[in-house]
Symmetry: C2
Subunit: 151 residues, 2 copies
């Protein structure tokens, strides 16, 4: 699947969920394959609504069984790392969180991941849409467990 | 309109927009009349998804022409005040922001209000649903221009 195809598919899932994007947001949906080249298996499609010094909000789109690999958000410049809340809008999400084990989230359910805590997640067979509410996002500082991953 | 009626109406608008709540969230939709007793004219219906020390996310429901009166979020304990981004999901929102004048937002459009900046907003004739992404929310510290208002 090309990035353009992934973008079309993610945009269709968002539209079906009634989530309205501007044309520019739609064209700029971020396709993240974590440098592995196996997007449909390990990857994410991301709409960044806002990312200031203090607050970030995104929509994450996951294709069926697609997963985001294990990582953590380390402290930055005296501040604790990124704190993020995942709220599931569509589909089922299987979330693994260091110290909390497996968490299964249905639409309307959410989970807050503390800073610097290892976590990974994947969608069920229908794919998923997840709203992420967090402190500032600095993807380039994320620490992944798999050394092959490049964010 | 009683609080229970307002809650039912807000829940119906959220459901129609495809926004899924848990039964508890639905029952706890906050009805804010700002102490004025004229909810349909001046008021807000609010679902608080998360409000930690660092991050807050809410869904705001506005009935047709309902408005949120002018206020600002002052600095707190050495930190700048609340920073908030309003993203319109349904309906039209007329936002007034100190120094920026009138801003009209359609679905998919958004605006970030800096800390300590006077602002007010109202819905158009169809009502509106607005996602709010912000730093920690401390409603009791908001400074309203109208001295009759109690939050």
């Amino acid at each position: 699947m090309t990035d353009a195809e992934a973008r079309d598919r993610a945009a269709a899932m968002l539209a079906e969920a009634g989530i309205v994007l501007t044309p520019l947001e739609r064209d700029e949906i971020e396709i993240a394959d974590f440098g592995l080249g196996r997007l449909e298996e390990v990857g994410l499609q991301i709409v960044v609504y806002v990312n200031t010094d203090r607050v970030c909000a995104k929509e994450l789109v996951l294709f069926p069984q697609q997963r985001c690999p294990e990582h953590r958000h380390p402290p930055v410049g005296g501040e604790p790392g990124k704190e993020e809340t995942f709220r599931v809008r569509r589909g089922t999400v299987h979330l693994q969180v260091e110290g909390a084990g497996d968490v299964v989230l249905a639409p309307g359910e959410q989970y807050t991941i503390p800073p610097n805590t290892l976590h990974s997640f994947r969608a069920g067979d229908e794919g998923a849409i997840v709203s992420e509410f967090s402190t500032r996002s600095r993807d380039e500082l994320d620490v992944f467990t798999d050394p092959q991953i490049v964010r």
